[in-house]
Symmetry: D2
Subunit: 277 residues, 4 copies
């Protein structure tokens, strides 16, 4: 009936050069944190004494282990810690910001945008929905409804075969979080992975993927600074899954480009030289 694997293997393993790939290199993750609430508000500093970025970085390392290397960068670093060199050596950037979106320089936003379209992964967390970079990538207002009143958040998986849902309980229970609700003004996600509900009855599309240019973006809404959400082990798993998913499969970083191609030549494009003959 079915041929035994062994026989089949013997017959073909001899002549065929198999391309069993080496294990992929570790994902180079940069965790970006605004790091302002932690400095200004005592109750936040108590939850995140080394800053939210440190906690998020640890969450990724905890889950991915040797499969990643993680560094952090914050708003108050020169160039917000996001120099051309840093981005060029970052496979996936995670972003948490809130109080100081406006302080992020447009130049850095342009740089990050270019890297995302060129293939850098981006994981945007919670209040990052209103960051300059996310708004620029989405093209919409990225507004929503909200309330900070200790709602319980339940994160339900609506796409159970998605890699970002791997190992995530259904539902994932967050004892206390800020409420973020619909209408959330984002483009229709390429993939809707999670939908959350809150004690008050509101819902939000809380786990969404978007492909833009050569890059992949994951937005995940849980995570206010006033609650220990990033200490929740399931939330930590989702963020790590998101990082894994957002890493591109493409071998090199390249920005999409407009090129002219001669008839019957599909592979040698020529740069744009202007709109008029």
């Amino acid at each position: 009936m079915t041929r035994p694997q062994g026989d089949f293997g013997e017959r073909q393993n001899t002549p065929v050069t198999t391309s069993s790939a080496p294990p992929p290199a570790p994902i180079r993750v940069t965790v970006w944190g605004e790091n302002r609430h932690e400095k200004i508000e005592e109750h936040v500093a108590e939850i995140y004494p080394q800053g939210m970025h440190t906690t998020i970085a640890e969450a990724i390392k905890e889950n991915l282990g040797d499969a990643c290397t993680v560094r952090t960068a914050t708003l108050d670093d020169p160039e917000h810690g996001l120099t051309e060199e840093v981005l060029a050596s970052t496979d996936v950037l995670t972003w948490w910001g809130h109080a100081a979106h406006a302080e992020v320089s447009d130049e850095v936003v342009e740089r990050v945008h270019r890297h995302v379209l060129s293939g850098m992964g981006l994981v945007v967390l919670h209040s990052g929905h209103w960051s300059k970079i996310f708004v620029k990538l989405m093209g919409t207002s990225c507004t929503l409804r909200w309330r900070n009143e200790h709602d319980r958040e339940l994160v339900w998986t609506v796409n159970p075969t998605h890699p970002i849902a791997k190992g995530v309980p259904h539902p994932l229970v967050v004892e206390e979080d800020e409420m973020y609700g619909e209408f959330f003004d984002i483009p229709v996600p390429d993939e809707l992975v999670f939908v959350s509900s809150f004690t008050g009855g509101e819902v939000i599309r809380s786990g969404c993927t978007f492909r833009r240019g050569h890059g992949r973006i994951f937005y995940f809404s849980p995570g206010d600074q006033d609650y220990p959400v990033y200490h929740n082990k399931d939330i930590r798993r989702v963020i790590a899954n998101g990082v894994q998913w957002a890493r591109t499969d493409r071998p090199e970083r390249s920005h999409p480009v407009l090129l002219r191609y001669d008839t019957d030549d599909f592979f040698n494009g020529v740069d744009y030289s202007g709109p008029l003959r």
Copy 2:
């Protein structure tokens, strides 16, 4: 077996107040044209002696008749013809630009963007893929491959029940057009309506819808200035269909907004007052 319509109608038409709506008001269309090639290049002026915008406006009127009113605006009008007043009285804006994308003022782009997110429909044609407004709404580079060598374009319908495909031949044949091919760096469309092929073998997702904020966007790729594409009756039908589809169903124009809602009050949001307690 089945109840005759008459009986059923009698039984219920008496007590029920039906809400048979009046016919919808005509769609107020503004056709925006860059209107530069027509002035500079003789061969374009021969095809479009009154400007491409006039031809496009006539195409819409030809198909929608009394169901629309159409006006035009061009780059060289004050404020490019797109004042707050004009946009506020426009249900659907169509956009054709090419040689002078950079001359469109950022202020007008912001204004159009705000109106789209607030509910104004937008139909972007051909080289409008690289306009400031389309790039801003998409968040990507909107680049593609191209060649201007008299390729025949075949426009195939892949979504036959979509209203934009209504009455459109399968395939729609354009005798000569510029080639626009993949990879076309746009977000995954909400709906893919048409896919085109060219003599040279290239393909493009040529008819795409996107919902952004409270607005609807239709991108349609055929239509270079060097060919009489906008005189093709089927192309004209598609554009008119796109205009009809892009008109919002919402009664009033409103920009999505970030609001706080108390528990158990779903309808009375409060404006944002800042990120810190």
Copy 3:
């Protein structure tokens, strides 16, 4: 700046034959009801004394008025009231079933399936998620989680420009309903219009569209027989909107077909004559 509409209209209305279409014919709706709970269970008969199908039919008529004609059909009618003749004269079929899915004859299911792929609209309500016709069209198990304990259901709009959301409050409040929750095993919807939450915290993708063949399908989850959900005016509006949306734009009913086409002949296909030369 912008040309006055009047001038423009004059210039082109003379030579152009406008195709201002006549108002569309009324939508011919057939409301199918299983009509068993109403006969067997007194508490259901009290809520729906003439059967749920009658209430649903009235809801559609109430909202669409002269823009529709509505008839009903039930399981115990010969051929369940869904003869070839009835389906051929039905633009949109609505379906509510629950206790007796298994009693629906496979022959009728095949007939309805053929009509949907040929262009008949289908609106599937609540427990119809497990009907033979919906399962056949989806290809999945269509299972979900549930609880019948008087949960309040909140129906949130996540696609505010969709015609099915027109005039629907955000959220739509259903005081009591059965809980239907995720994971709901359906294909990813073409369009996600509504997401519901329940008192207990569960969520479901409650308003979903699917295009199949030449037909359009809308699934809407509120509506258990134990509660007066179909008397709720906003629920009635959604169902009527769904009926309007599900009516095809295509002029005639036709089943997709496999045809052979000669090179350079795009319009005259030839029937399949077998797999071997």
Copy 4:
């Protein structure tokens, strides 16, 4: 600015137990082939002397090497080689059939369908579009237009960050293939990866993913028996990529099920016991 990786790693690697997962087990692939043309038609036997299934199996092995084990099964095996035992030990099943779709037993189709919804991956090739299993999973007619006249097929990537597109040239050139064209009556794919064009100008959505239940499905249209398509190294890469993608991330195979949940108990569902109180 950015913290050096080493420091960060030292600080956290000590206390944290990392969960660096072992390499995943090899993907257990079963390649199903109808194996009729190869026996009946000499010109097919010349291209595929050991059957198309053998060639396809070798293609997968060639690309995935030790990361997979591959066996084959054919129509004329008992139970078509697809016993419960075989399916239970198959991570991904590939399917090529054409002349004898009708000979595949309904019982085996049900079995495969159940395994797909439970988590087995499925890669459907070329004429498999009209197989019982694909039609059942899609819910549509799966018809298309075709012509067997040595068209060149160009396979264009429209989703460059999708893992199935990894390492695939843009375009992928197939010197000769059967033409498969739109309208292809399938549900809107969850992800559109490839679009093909043919010498004659037709196009088709040639690489499509679908998630159904707990399973993943990839349809890839190139591959007629009359041409050596499965000897093309890039086609072989795509099939291997599809196999990798279709393998589920879920730890165990389970069919979606309808369960009742008490309020506040999200994790202990109870089997369905009937529709009436």
